[in-house]
């Protein structure tokens, strides 16, 4: 069990997204669960390959939008009817059509902020340190032009030698050990 404290995982580098997705899909089929792909641009197939199909961002956005719109509409109604009633040319105090515009804007505001910050929170950002940044080839490639598959030490199937040999069967450019 020592290795799990020292090693974060094994990182295989590929030149193309096709090779990465192929390897990730095979690893998933072979029972790997604790793994992730790292790509310089969004590769939908990579997420599918590691079994990540749904995310919570739409739900968070929906809840944010509903909350923003409802709260603003309630605030306008409360202000105009209760807190500070003004008679503007005899119009009803609860003049709801006029309240729609600010409620609409606040729906968008809170939904948009929920989408952005919800995404960041679900991704666990900010995380300025991550073990992968220790890998010598990761920082040069992962955000530029290389494709990485990381099989993590947390997975029960993980063993330093066997996993390394397993990853090498996909003919990657390199397989390196990532220190924790």
């Amino acid at each position: 069990m020592l290795s799990r404290n020292v090693v974060y995982g094994l990182l295989a580098e590929f030149d193309t997204a096709d090779e990465l997705v192929h390897a990730a899909r095979q690893a998933r089929q072979d029972g790997w669960r604790k793994m992730d792909c790292y790509t310089p641009y969004p590769v939908e197939e990579a997420a599918e390959a590691i079994g990540f199909h749904r995310n919570m961002v739409p739900l968070v956005t929906l809840l944010g939008g509903i909350t923003g719109g409802a709260l603003m509409f309630w605030l306008e109604t409360w202000i105009s009817v209760q807190a500070y009633p003004l008679n503007i040319g005899g119009r009803p105090l609860f003049s709801w059509p006029a309240f729609i515009v600010p409620a609409y804007e606040l729906t968008i505001l809170i939904a948009g902020l929920s989408a952005a910050f919800g995404m960041l929170a679900l991704n666990g950002f900010p995380t300025l340190y991550h073990p992968l940044f220790n890998a010598p080839n990761f920082r040069d490639g992962a955000t530029t032009d290389k494709f990485f598959l990381c099989l993590e030490a947390k997975d029960p199937k993980f063993s330093r030698e066997e996993t390394k040999a397993y990853l090498e069967s996909f003919k990657p450019v390199s397989v390196v050990e990532v220190e924790n």
């Binding site: 193309t16 997204a17 096709d18 090779e19 192929h22 990730a24 899909r25 089929q29 992730d36 792909c37 790292y38 790509t39 310089p40 641009y41 969004p42 590769v43 939908e44 197939e45 990579a46 997420a47 390959a49 990540f52 995310n55 919570m56 961002v57 956005t61 306008e76 202000i79 105009s80 807190a83 500070y84 003004l86 503007i88 119009r91 006029a98 515009v101 600010p102 804007e105 606040l106 968008i108 505001l109 939904a111 948009g112 902020l113 989408a115 952005a116 919800g118 995404m119 960041l120 991704n123 950002f125 900010p126 300025l128 340190y129 992968l132 990761f138 992962a142 955000t143 530029t144 032009d145």
Partner: protein, 477 residues
Amino acid sequence: MDTNGLKNNPTIDPSTGEYNVIAADQSFRSVTEKITHIVLTPQTPSGWFALFGLAGTGATILVVALTWLFLKGVGIWGVTQPGAWGFAIINFVWWIGIGHAGTLISAILLLFKQRWRNSISRFAEAMTIFAVVCAGMFPVLHLGRPWLGYWLFPYPNSMTIWPQFRSPLMWDVCAVSTYATISTVFWYIGMVPDLGTMRDRAESKAAKYFYGILSLGWRGSARHWMRYETASLLLAGLATPLVLSVHTVISFDFAVAVLPGWHTTIFPPYFVAGAIYSGFAMVLTLAIPLRKFYHLEDLVTERHIDNMGKVMLATGFIVAYGYGMEVFMAWYSASHTEAFMMWNRMFGPMGWSYWVLVTCNLAIPLTTLWSRKLRTSISFMFCLSIVVNAGMWFERFVIVVTSLYRDFLPSSWGTYRATSWDYMTFGGTLGLFTLLFLLFIRFLPMIPMSEIRLLLPGTRIKPHNIASGTTAEEAGD
């Protein structure tokens, strides 16, 4: 048209007959190096410093003008009765209209899967934010007591008063502040993966820290990308109705009033189209010198200039319809104040401004933009973008001033004369805008690298290559 010439042109894709979105010989690394180098190079081009000095002078003039404004009050401007809105509102509408093209490019064209937008979306969004900064200043300064501007927001206060939400001016506060916030968030979120690239390519310690903190620890995980893509799509979907609503609400500031020349239902669509028209003109004004100065012709190609010309042609015609409808309604309404307003707008003491607007917004662009040759002539498009920017400023001048200075009662007629403080404030915001833009192109990646990568060959996954049981080599990639 000379089709043979087009066929042999290497910048044209033979299968579609369209200009290539980006030049053919680019790779992931070459694109990344090209874009990051502009920012990470220790040598700042001397031209940048020259422009920075010029823009800085403009921004300093703005500071001087605003200081005097705070000391003396809005009386230093030309605003008075009956022309109570003047330059402040003209500039507000003009600037915020310019911003709209950025959101259109980054959100609406994203939803329509117009992938050519990728190279220009980042700096168009930056343009939006800086334009909104300039725009947002004016209504607050125009308040008279700008330091009490926060009274516009509903907050519990010891005076126990609350804003009046039936007023379009309150709608405006909600719309513009939401627009500024969402544009900034959308811009920053869109930049996070690129900031990760900047962090990984930075040489100096300061740059590593700066981009490291801004990138929040981005590492391109597949899970992160999926949430990121979902959030981007949702933000685009939210920004689209938002951008349409912002200029609609601004047009309500006018249209809800009973003043002849303002009280018309054509205003919302006509304002939105005008905003996009002037915004694309400003994108061209910025993009054309930028691509030349930083040698980005491979990334911002003739295709972009051509497409933006087409968008301007389309929105220009919507604007023309708006002008036509205003004239038609002045006659068809059978209201003599409306008819007089239109006559006065065209032939009154300030009639020249109407003809400047017709020349700059209709006569010149709508006759020339049909020609593909002119649309891809870089110097022509640059001059045209300046002409349209000026024309759209005059459109707002015409709407604000020629409607206000002669309304129903001849006894309340007056005139409008801008003071040198008005001109200094307007010129100063041009300086501030340029200054912010120069800082942006020096310190942040101005072209979205992660999106440009999607335009390169080989990014599409081939299903047979990833099927389990075969390797890429066996499948014959």
